[in-house]
């Protein structure tokens, strides 16, 4: 009886340790192709503009005083959750091909995508990365951060960067739009990462424009995602070497 109890306890402890160490099998997926399946002679694209309709919300700047190391770089930092330009251009919208690529598979870029922590904020605030592509997360601040990704499909992780200049590299294993990132040390810090199995995504800049280049001819569902204003989709059809145009207009949800 006593032996059984000990064996049971050992099995339980092993299970707890294995789970605590973040054990888990990676998905068995075939390796990505090396060559781009799109014929450059027929490739086209989709461009467009994202705007905000109405009066944009007035957002107070975020105070950094809970960490003196952050406050020394500036008492506040802009709230980037809704950034609207002078002509209504909406910034930080993730635009991507949601559907229409069929079974096409695309090579993974060798270059890494960089997410920096600078001025106690994430730079950029919204970005995209391909499945399997290296994502480098830097700490350029004179303080410590934790990088806490909270995905629904991919594996959650929470890593500390106590020393300035540290770098953490991560690769996502599954498509997911979007993966929120946050720093639990500095609760105002957050970023959003779109993870796709193709390279056709963009983030709107200060002028609200985007461009998806290198698409093969076809009909596509284009989705625009905004962290507070939700999502919108549009269909667009492009022929060989054509560039389609779509426009998205968001309204305040409150």
């Amino acid at each position: 009886m006593t032996r059984r109890v000990w064996i049971g306890a050992l099995v339980l402890a092993s299970g707890v340790l294995a789970a605590a160490c973040g054990g888990g099998s990676q998905e068995d997926a075939p390796p990505p192709p090396v060559e781009n399946p799109v014929d450059p002679a027929t490739a086209g694209g989709v461009t467009g503009q994202v705007t905000f309709e109405g009066t944009p919300p007035t957002l107070a700047a975020l105070r950094l005083d809970s960490d003196p190391n952050c406050a020394r770089q500036g008492a506040t930092t802009p709230n980037e959750s809704v950034v609207v330009g002078a002509t209504g251009a909406l910034q930080n919208v993730f635009v991507y091909v949601k559907d229409g690529l069929g079974t096409l598979r695309f090579p993974v870029p060798a270059a890494a995508v960089v997410l920096d922590q600078k001025g106690c904020r994430y730079v950029p605030h919204v970005l995209g990365v391909q499945v399997g592509q290296r994502m480098e997360i830097l700490n350029s601040d004179p303080t410590l951060h934790n990088i806490h990704a909270v995905p629904m499909t991919n594996r959650e992780f929470n890593t500390g960067q106590p020393i300035p200049g540290m770098k953490h590299t991560h690769q996502f294993t599954a498509r997911e739009v979007m993966v929120p990132f946050k720093c639990d040390v500095h609760p105002w810090m957050n970023a959003y990462v779109g993870v796709l199995d193709h390279p056709f995504f963009a983030v709107t800049g200060a002028d609200g424009s985007f461009s998806l280049e290198g698409l093969p001819p076809g009909t596509y569902t284009i989705e625009a995602w905004h962290e507070r204003l939700g999502t919108q989709t549009q269909m667009v059809t492009i022929g060989a070497t054509e560039t389609g145009t779509v426009a998205f207009s968001f309204k305040s949800t409150t």
């Binding site: 707890v16 789970a19 605590a20 973040g22 809970s66 960490d67 003196p68 190391n69 952050c70 303080t143 410590l144 934790n146 806490h148 909270v150 959650e156 929470n158 890593t159 500390g160 106590p162 639990d184 040390v185 500095h186 609760p187």
Partner: protein
């Protein structure tokens, strides 16, 4: 001395619960991503200048928890060496096992990214540890064996049910905190302007259950304290915790309302957590004192008003004297 040390350990445990409340209220539970280390340092050598933002709350909680753990080890050892009553010594061992389990739960919940069941269990076990330290402090006090106890079965049942209801209410509260349902109903005292919410989601149901639970707990506390104040007013060991319990209940309900109305202001929210622990401890003390006859302390009817005697079984003086012939006539 043992009693004072046990009382000190109980106070330290209450401080730990408050610190834990601050961690949840400020959303700092994962500000230190590793455990048992802190950003790779031993938690005891982690530089003070790095206690910034959410780290301050999480790291302070871990340090206080370590100190409470060591205090409970010392308390269990002291009881083992000096306490003649076996059941009291066992309370010490139980407190030690509970605080070790609590530490492991705290570590697991960090490493597993705060899963709700583990975090709720961590919150629930914290109250058990606190109750054990309060119980040890109570039963090692000189007052525990001083004076004849009251054998009032109705009081025993009322206080036991009240303590159980308060603990259940705390578990519902912990579920509400860890499932982010604290503001699922944004107004108070009504729910979306009505007595019963017009729409239901899981979060609204949990939040509403906590409000209904508060009403039930208030009814039980009023019944138990009212019973003591009416039937056992001369008994200071029952009257004082009853009055304290009524005061704590009022404070706790006010803090609960303020938590909603302030949009979960972190200090109010954390005070609500620790005051809940005090309400539980107050009811537990009253319960244990009502059950003193079960702990081998002699019964007496002193201090009981005549109206209460219907449910108080006090043997006639003659029946306490054994018949030398072996049977009564």
């Amino acid at each position: 001395m043992l009693h004072f040390f046990a009382a000190f350990v109980a106070a330290a445990t209450a401080l730990l619960i408050f610190a834990g409340g601050l961690v949840t209220s400020t959303g700092s539970g994962l500000a230190v991503p590793d455990w048992p280390t802190t950003y790779g340092w031993s938690m005891f050598t982690f530089p003070v200048d790095k206690w910034v933002g959410g780290i301050f709350y999480e790291h302070s909680h871990r340090l206080i928890a370590s100190i409470v753990g060591m205090l409970i080890i010392a308390l269990a050892a002291w009881l083992w060496r000096a306490e003649p009553r076996r059941w009291v010594r066992r309370l010490g061992y139980l407190a030690l096992a509970a605080v070790v389990t609590q530490g492991i739960l705290g570590g697991i919940t960090v490493l597993w990214f705060l899963p709700d069941p583990i975090s709720i269990a961590h919150a629930g076990l914290a109250q058990i540890v606190f109750c054990l330290t309060v119980t040890i402090a109570l039963v090692t006090s000189p007052g525990w064996t001083r004076g004849a106890p009251v054998a009032d079965r109705l009081l025993q049942r009322l206080t036991a049910v009240t303590t159980g209801a308060i603990y259940a209410q705390i578990l519902v509260g912990a579920t509400m905190r860890h499932t982010e349902a604290g503001l699922a109903i944004p107004d108070f005292p009504l729910a979306f302007g009505r007595i019963v919410p017009p729409v239901w989601t899981t979060a609204i149901a949990i939040h509403y259950a906590h409000r209904v639970g508060a009403l039930l707990v208030a009814a039980f506390v009023l019944a138990a304290a009212g019973h003591v104040l009416y039937h056992h007013w001369p008994r200071a060991e029952l009257r004082r915790p009853s009055l304290l319990l009524l005061l704590l209940l009022a404070v706790q309900i006010a803090l609960g309302a303020l938590t909603v109305l302030s949009g979960r202001q972190y200090m109010i929210n954390s005070l609500h957590v620790v005051t809940g622990a005090f309400v539980l401890a107050g009811s537990l003390v009253l319960t244990l004192r009502a059950y003193r006859p079960r702990f081998g302390i002699r019964e007496s009817g002193s201090g009981i008003r005549p109206a209460a005697l219907e449910h108080v079984r006090i043997p006639e003086p003659a029946s306490r004297i054994p018949d030398p012939r072996g049977a009564r006539a």
